[in-house]
Amino acid sequence: MIVDALATPPPAGAGAAPGPARPQLDLELRSIRKRYGSFVAVDDVSLRVGKGQFVCLLGPSGCGKTTTLRCIAGLEEPDGGDILIGGKEATKDPPWKRDIAMMFQDFALFPHMTVAKQVGFGLEMLHRPKAEIAQRVQHILTSFEIAALADRKPASLSGGQRQRVALARAMITEPRILLLDEPIGALDYSLRETVMLELKLLQQRTGISFIWVTHDQNEAFSLGDLVVVMNHARIEQQGVPEDILLRPATAFVAGFVQGNNVFRGRTGDVLAETLAIKTAAGTFLAPRERTAPPLPTGSEISFSVRAEQITDRLTDRHVNRLTATCTAVEYFGAVRRHVFERSGGEVLKYDQFGAQAARIAPGQRVTLGWTIDAVVVHRSAGA
């Protein structure tokens, strides 16, 4: 499934192409494949990134997101598929001929060069005059608030300072695409939120496309214009954050994204508007997909319900019901999460607004319910 990233409007200042001409893509991946021996690292990954987009590749470790990034950088050669950078075929180009820059997880600063020297390295490689290099290095160091470190070597810098140097070094040549491999994973937790916001603003201001690899869904959903969820070398779902949070396409995405309750079962009766799904916890009604061809009765199917869509204040609309015992209550401020035990060792999460008074105590047996519309039916596994 390919969601056209161009569907979302480009950020202001990116300079919309005049006339009806199709705006150029910053990056296009066409069915990229990469294998190491018998291990498939990237399988049929296709992606389209419009001008100046912030794309997050999200997934558990070993899902192929870093390999995909390295293929875009040219550090790995894909076994199949095409990579287009700025509309130009770049699959066979070596890294030094691609219009990209990359920020590495541990920043990969050159230990023998001063901050000023390595920030200017990219411009030196472009054979810019010395005076211009000095001036642009000075400018970027000042705007990143690291001008005082110009003559220091990386070994004497803190984690946050190294991160800024690495970013300045990658950004100074103003590439079309900046590739970031877990760029804030090495930072202290308290620093991450500030840096995330800075990077988002920087991306919007410069109009450079960011491809950001992370396993942290908070990063992905708060930063990405487009979020690409990967698992087992494949793209499970791509779309805007709301899409993935509210309408997970597969059981994996639903389970990976926080706050979903995933149910697995078999299809039952198909009614006019609804589909009955038989699970170990009972039979539930889901909205019938009008676009998809109907599945034969008894097919395996999964669906999810978000924790905040569940309620213990039942009305006639809450036709899906489940009685379970509360095992724990966690208070996060914004929400109060109740954990219930379901059959088969699975849990059911129910989030209540944190501002409301507590109504359920651990050990209590409660009947919970949700509406038909709250049910998100997934693509069948492997489809």
Partner: protein, 287 residues
């Protein structure tokens, strides 16, 4: 972490055995050597007056001065040859050999010859280099030459060939270590910053391996300067370097002259190490 504090009594006691050993076998003999090199007169006695005569005699002799010069030139040649060859071997082993099995096999192939002594390995070159030696027979079999080349054994070329084979691994070893310690991301980062491979090598890889290169060069320098055995076996009586002169004077019981040459040899070595340390601070390695 060490649990022994600096300047504690335990620290001094632990340092004592090594200190006694070093004073006994290094400091005292060198002091004696320097002392003997200043002895005047003819008698071999501690009563001898101290003069600069021995040094004056050495420096007045053109042959000896030429020997110093040729020793330095020879050592510099060896350093250049082993440096380039050693770096290439190290780069190949670390960067190009990807299979661990191959790497181990090649590493052993380079290391195993070092299990025999330097003297044996030097002597082992004789049957290779001789007029009817392996190299000449191979060349004649291949039709590269009609008559055997006599320039190999008992010649400067032969000495150089043997010493290159003896000391190349000394130059390569520290470079292997330094190359291994360069994170692959550094080269990748340079490539994504538009540096083509040779520039990556010149600007990133080589500067980061420079300490290894310098250490290797110091090892080769010290070994070649002090290697009299290879020169004696391969060079026969026709060729000599400074270290052979020490042996020559010693065997002819000219102890004062031997001491003078030994002291000068040590000074040359000391100067070389000082220069090396100015290029790279070896003490900071591993930090």
């Amino acid at each position: 972490m060490s649990t022994i504090r600096a300047r504690s009594a335990a620290g001094y006691w632990l340092a004592l055995p090594a200190a006694v050993w070093m004073v006994g076998v290094v400091v005292v003999p060198i002091a004696l050597l320097i002392w003997v090199s200043f002895w005047g007169g003819r008698a071999f006695s501690t009563e001898s007056p101290l003069t600069f005569d021995n040094y004056a005699r050495f420096f007045a002799n053109q042959t000896y001065l030429k020997l110093v010069l040729s020793t330095i030139v020879h050592t510099a040649t060896l350093m250049a040859l082993t440096g380039v060859l050693g770096y290439c071997i190290a780069y190949f082993l670390v960067m190009k050999v990807r299979r661990p099995g191959w790497r181990l096999a090649l590493f052993l192939a380079f290391i195993i010859p070092f299990w025999t002594s330097t003297l044996i390995r030097a002597i082992a070159w004789v049957p290779f280099l001789g007029v009817n030696g392996v190299i000449n027979q191979a060349l004649m079999f291949a039709g590269a030459t009609q008559s055997p080349i006599e320039a190999f054994l008992y010649s400067h070329t032969g000495i150089t060939m043997a010493q290159v084979s003896l000391y190349t691994m000394l130059a390569a070893g520290p470079v292997v270590y330094m190359l291994n310690s360069i994170a692959p991301q550094l080269r990748e980062a340079a490539m994504t910053l538009k540096a083509p491979p040779f520039v990556v090598f010149r600007r990133i890889v080589f500067p980061l391996t420079l300490p290894g290169v310098v250490i290797g060069q110091v090892l080769v320098f010290l070994n070649v300067m002090s290697d009299f055995a290879t020169v004696a076996t391969i060079g026969g009586n026709k060729h000599a370097l400074l270290s052979n002169l020490v042996l020559l004077f010693y065997e002819s019981s000219q102890i004062r002259a031997a001491a003078v040459v030994a002291v000068l040899l040590m000074l040359c070595m000391l100067a070389g190490v000082v220069v090396a340390l100015r290029v790279v601070d070896i003490r900071r390695l591993g930090a």
